[in-house]
Symmetry: C2
Subunit: 124 residues, 2 copies
């Protein structure tokens, strides 16, 4: 099982890469057959190729991320609240999701579920 | 399916009752065969009687609760970060969990999983 420190490191690296990484770098944090449900209730993306495709939309915009709270659950799960601020050029989009992740023995992400809804998005 | 407003009302009522309610009142927010895993990784309490028993420990202490962020996911799920401050008489215990809940069509809680670990508890 991954250590809490390994899980923390993966979550911190994930938020760094959402801000400044490539879709391929983000996808590499995931296990080969991982799943992404973002937001919860939307179709699930399964496998690294689909996950890289999902994150490729991030590459066209400028993002900043901030971790608010990270809680480890049991041996291989975590929930964390954070902020993503996206600058599209025309506007600033702020959203504060709560993500739930599971991890494999190397602290690669095996599943991610992002809790947020359109009502949680702020435009400025 | 419950409306987002019904889910929000249940979560707010839950935190009110954790602060000032009885274990029976809290258990009544749960569906009959609901499950509670608090913290994640610990044995699951199933059914209202077991859930009431679990919350009965709260009745001996003074609690205050504060909701930080509530995010609805899909049709019947939510994640929320919050604070519980417990006054035992001798000390003040502060913990900021992230809970994940599912709900039935009447917005009764069908499952609760609380993400926190002993490292997240502050004593004063």
């Amino acid at each position: 099982m991954p250590s809490p420190e390994q899980i923390r490191a993966t979550v911190h690296r994930y938020l760094e890469l959402v801000a400044e990484g490539t879709a391929a770098e983000i996808a590499a944090l995931y296990a080969e057959d991982a799943t992404v449900e973002d937001p919860v209730g939307s179709p699930v993306h399964q496998g690294r190729a689909a996950i890289e495709q999902f994150y490729s939309a991030l590459e066209a915009v400028q993002n900043k991320t901030e971790l608010f709270a990270l809680r480890i659950g049991g041996e291989n799960e975590a929930a964390f609240s954070f902020r993503v601020v996206t600058e599209t050029g025309d506007q600033t989009i702020t959203i504060d999701p709560i993500d739930v992740m599971t991890f494999d023995e190397n602290a690669r992400i095996t599943s991610m579920r992002a809790f947020w809804s359109p009502a949680d998005i702020a435009f400025a």
